[in-house]
Symmetry: D2
Subunit: 333 residues, 4 copies
Amino acid sequence: MRFLSDNAAAAHPAVLDAIAASNRLDSPYDGDEWSLRLDAAFSDLFETQVRALWATTGTAANCLALAALCPPYGGIICHRDAHIEVDEAGAPGFFTGGAKLILVDGPGAKLAPDAVSAAIGRIHKDVHQVQPRALSITNATEYGLVYNAAETAALGDLAKAQGLRLYLDGARFANAIVSSGATPAELSWRAGVEAMSFGFVKNGGLNAEAIILFDMDLADEILVRRKRAGHLLSKGRMLAAQILALLEGDLWLANARAANAAAQALATAAAGRLVYPVEANELFLKASADEAAALRAQGAEFYDWGAGEIRLVTSWDSDPAAVGKLAAAIAGL
Amino acid sequence: MRFLSDNAAAAHPAVLDAIAASNRLDSPYDGDEWSLRLDAAFSDLFETQVRALWATTGTAANCLALAALCPPYGGIICHRDAHIEVDEAGAPGFFTGGAKLILVDGPGAKLAPDAVSAAIGRIHKDVHQVQPRALSITNATEYGLVYNAAETAALGDLAKAQGLRLYLDGARFANAIVSSGATPAELSWRAGVEAMSFGFVKNGGLNAEAIILFDMDLADEILVRRKRAGHLLSKGRMLAAQILALLEGDLWLANARAANAAAQALATAAAGRLVYPVEANELFLKASADEAAALRAQGAEFYDWGAGEIRLVTSWDSDPAAVGKLAAAIAGL
Amino acid sequence: MRFLSDNAAAAHPAVLDAIAASNRLDSPYDGDEWSLRLDAAFSDLFETQVRALWATTGTAANCLALAALCPPYGGIICHRDAHIEVDEAGAPGFFTGGAKLILVDGPGAKLAPDAVSAAIGRIHKDVHQVQPRALSITNATEYGLVYNAAETAALGDLAKAQGLRLYLDGARFANAIVSSGATPAELSWRAGVEAMSFGFVKNGGLNAEAIILFDMDLADEILVRRKRAGHLLSKGRMLAAQILALLEGDLWLANARAANAAAQALATAAAGRLVYPVEANELFLKASADEAAALRAQGAEFYDWGAGEIRLVTSWDSDPAAVGKLAAAIAGL
Amino acid sequence: MRFLSDNAAAAHPAVLDAIAASNRLDSPYDGDEWSLRLDAAFSDLFETQVRALWATTGTAANCLALAALCPPYGGIICHRDAHIEVDEAGAPGFFTGGAKLILVDGPGAKLAPDAVSAAIGRIHKDVHQVQPRALSITNATEYGLVYNAAETAALGDLAKAQGLRLYLDGARFANAIVSSGATPAELSWRAGVEAMSFGFVKNGGLNAEAIILFDMDLADEILVRRKRAGHLLSKGRMLAAQILALLEGDLWLANARAANAAAQALATAAAGRLVYPVEANELFLKASADEAAALRAQGAEFYDWGAGEIRLVTSWDSDPAAVGKLAAAIAGL
């Protein structure tokens, strides 16, 4: 009954099989047959021509792209609770060479156009204050909310009007797709997204994420930055192979559906306790210390989330029995 | 008959088995049972207490450590042909925040204490010139030469006398150990090395290298830098597991022995053509364009290395039949 | 009637005289006779042994020191309205190599220990969140408030308890000294400050600030960083000479007294309109757009400061007649 | 008889007068009347529209411009003896965020197109090696040689053909202009130079250099970088005023003529000892230790320059009597 995070779940068996199948001498780095198939595979998925590069972590994927989107002396607007602000140890500052994160508030780690506009409005247009150059959103958000196509497009319009490059942290993009019913295109380039990370590690992958570049001119720079940051694996085929395995037969969607469904099952049981609507695979519940202890006494593992709240995260392999048992435990509090 | 590089060879089956065996939910990052065993495993191997951290590439391992050994305003002395200078896309500058590589010449990418001393002597001791703070050596070198224990210790003594931190790029440390007959301790901390990378990717691993810290106080900083550089994988167990698999039963030594032996077989056949003595698993041969073409016509794949030279690299899984065939072809030129 | 800022006032005549007097061949950089006198001059002033380095701007002074106090992967706690956050174009990120400013609120740009402690308490002690390494305060603050000796010491105690290096932005240190009645020692090292900038440009200087190092071990690194940042002037004597001229006969104190007195004269006239107590040489007044226009119609120049507020800044050479006229105009609104 | 360097000479009296004349309240930073005149003044001088920004040091001017010309992951080709490589404490690495200097040899610190081409040819066109993005030349060179218009244009053609941005370190541009007889335009933009520093500190100025941007699109970025590096002085008028004073009536040319003439007088006396032709205001002479001692015994101050060589530098205010005395001493060796 482990609901700590989706980031440490086992990889899907198909992923291990794909790694094993790719374990033979081929061209190093990203010259192998699997890596060479990524552009086409993601271009199909996104219904437009894209460049697709593997990376081993979401932090690397996010910050390699952001470094190409924002100069060292620029600012990146993001939510105060965004992963790049809270959980990446200052990686954006490292990769960009010192760019500043400009923080915006909003419930559930979700950015509203008005709040972004207000933040921009507070910045003097001179050389003394850091000028925003990029806008970074996360879908699904760090609190499990989902931007639908229209919400994403509204931010895209704002970014365009303000001259900001639009980046999408898609660590849980699969969950957002499944939840919103939108197509990958609708939640990305059609809405103005110019580059994104596409998460697999939290969705059945072992250690591969993808960087998707709708502005393909960014690729040359990011390829160099990837090497320079020590992220160009010599046996990159093992990364490409697992991504292809998850794309094949829409396994990535099946996995996300399973995670989201497990979250819904818990949400139903926890109806009166939800801090945010449950739109992806994370739940934040009001629970007293005694209640949290009671759940743990029944075998549940999860994080406390500030005073009087707990966080539950489901994953592609959440055991239905465990989900059912936890749902019953919550309902019985 | 592929002798292009050892970096793209298949991983050893034991490595894939270990990854599969570790594919279950555990603590994320480096809190899993496999990662927690690394310190002890390498402490045994090095006969002293060390800290051992996994990393996915040699570039990352080298530069994470160098960033902790040299401030942004310092210099790192290394050979002009060192991997950190030639093949890492400027990663030392990125990770350190702008430190300078101070280049020293010497045959076979090997540093001699006199040449290092002379380079130091040319630097004015003022604020106008970058002052050296670290010395980085590679064993086996980029041209397949090996520092024995005494040679390493001589550089260690020099580093200590000059106030330089001593780093060892051990991408092919296994080959150096097998070749020199020295112990891991003798080629590292007993000779003054304070931190090193320990390569597995070129020796049967899939995508794991280790950073070994003899100065264990460096660990806290490097752990933060690793996260900040996007190199903290959430399922780090898959890296630790493959390292442990290669250490077990001295598989890493068996693999290096096989690669070195294959190189010796080729060296014997190429006796009159060797640019450098063959001490590890790389050969640099004099060969005219016609001769190179003749070898390729017989199925050999390898890199040209400047005018009139070719490079051959063997690996743990070099096929004895292919080695024999290539040896015969070389002998028959 | 110009009350826009103190940073663009004329230099004191004694400063120009000193520059002219130093205009002869001497050793370059900071080897001249004037530069060599700085350590002793500031050691006298601070009643303890210090190292004192000139710099041309407050931004340079602040960020050179902060880069030595905080590693690239660390955080610097400061007020949300601190100059280093708001008005230095991201210079802290540039000089430190990407360190993060951790922002704390509080009225009048003044930090309270409780607010600092709370901010520290919100940070998880792990490698995922940036850990604070330094605390930066400004005295007088950006809104003209002054930390007295006890308030400074309370922050010093907190910094020590939390393992933070304590830095003081003293762009208007002279105004704080005059206002508080404390000695330079009491507002700095006796309270735990380890390094500070000491402002002269806003107090009669032309283009010289000083970096004062109570932790003298910082000097070697900052001397190198100063050169590396292009801040080592070859004719540094012209900077040292103006600093010495302002220290001589306590001219710096006389200048600050004049500026503070002018501010008090305005404050008296604006009694009911003050947004903050007037403790140094800045005033923030409530004033409607019509009222601001009325003042401007009488010849006053100043900045609007958000909706319904204006800022007035006095300086060492504020003309008493102009001050009197503006005071009358304010009183007559 | 001080011939150590031109960088610590007195400022010309007209420069001090101009600073004094500008010592009154005006707009801060570069909004004052003097700073606003720089673009036009240099556009006249260069016979084309340029942007001109002041800076306080040559290191700052060079590296602010280079950071706009070369990305963090690029390389800057320069001579092995270039000031940016040898005498700026790694400032290019700091300002660019880690770009690499790619060093080229050649007598007298002068770059020949063939040598530059050869250096480019040695770099593999892949992501593993740092790709050159800029070419930086110094005129007059660090050894007192001068590129004439044709030589500069040849490098400009090469840079254009190779896709390199061309930068000119003009710390002693005045000496080169006087020596070559070329116009400022011919030694800069007409030859392909896109940005340059224009030195005044070594030529009668106090602490002002100019950054000249022929590619005016670079200005916005460099203005921000200047602030971010702490190089935006609040009383910038004192920098602009001294530059304008030196431009007025071609004082900068008169000063350079005086320095070059003094060097020629010494060169004539030292005819048989010259290591390089004397084309600007620096002389490098063969002189034994005894000979150097003999000169010093007669009151001359200068630097030894490696074994058996000495360096003499003249300046705008080199005393003709001292020059004559030293010339006689050299002739009498």
